[in-house]
């Protein structure tokens, strides 16, 4: 933590907050629409719809149970992973750090919904004809982008550079 100066901390905080707020704006907009019309099912383009569903589980709707205990355990695991990512941000530098910031911003967006609404609203429905991809949200986009960047950095970083960074 001491290695990071105040300017860098502020920049990282702004990036995370920008991602978090972008996600929140979209979610609030969709939820307002759902309040007014009871349901959100909007045709945008031939390949993209807005369709609101609530996810209580993790990725791909896995572990979606009505049991409160399981839900709390999952939320706890997600919170721990988010803290670990925060620690990794402090330890890493450059491209890897920015990738982790994207993951953290998205993670906080979904974690907020899990605590506030007890479920995460998903509304982006990509499809080709009758084949629908999993319905996701803006936070998921940032997490995916961050994970892809992180894997890319991990593969193409040289081993000695990796040792130095860690």
């Amino acid at each position: 933590m001491l290695k990071m100066n105040l300017k860098k901390i502020l920049l990282n905080f702004i990036i995370v907050m920008a991602i978090f707020l972008t996600d929140r704006i979209f979610k609030v907009y969709i939820l307002k629409m759902a309040q007014m019309e009871n349901t959100v099912d909007i045709y945008l383009t031939e390949y993209l719809n807005l369709y609101l569903i609530w996810n209580q589980g993790i990725a791909f709707g896995v572990l979606s149970f009505n049991d409160g205990l399981i839900y709390n355990i999952i939320t706890l695991i997600i919170s721990v992973i988010t803290i670990v990512i925060l620690v990794m941000i402090v330890k890493n530098k450059g491209f890897k750090r920015y990738s982790l910031l994207f993951i953290l911003g998205g993670s906080l967006g979904n974690l907020f919904d899990r605590i506030y609404y007890s479920a995460v609203p998903d509304f982006i429905d990509l499809h080709y004809n009758s084949f629908h991809w999993f319905v996701f949200n803006v936070a998921d986009i940032f997490i995916t982008f961050g994970v892809i960047c992180l894997i890319f950095a991990e593969i193409f970083y040289k081993d000695n550079e990796y040792e130095k960074k860690i």
């Binding site: 993670s107 629908h132 996701f136």
Partner: protein, 111 residues
Amino acid sequence: MKKKFKFILIISISAIFLYSCGSVKDGLTDNKRTNADEFLVEKKNPLVKPPKFSELPKPESSTLKGLSEELTVVNIEDQLKKEISLNKNSKNDQTVNKSIEESILEKINTN
């Protein structure tokens, strides 16, 4: 190399927890598309005259004449006059001096 693989694996597993994609049931099934989508309805062509419009037979005037006759029969004033004349015939001695209004009221009361 092992470290890299391990790191990617950990990140991927962690990401599964952080993601919040919709369930397979909601996302992949076609249930939600059973309702009609008004945006997918094909646009109708503009109204145009048929190719042999001038050759089409003209509507017959006799049918129109008959229709107009029927309409003239259904005239409230005539009906009232008929009713009054009927009343006059049946109750000639009583209703001679009665006004139209009185005769109508009487008719209503009888019904």
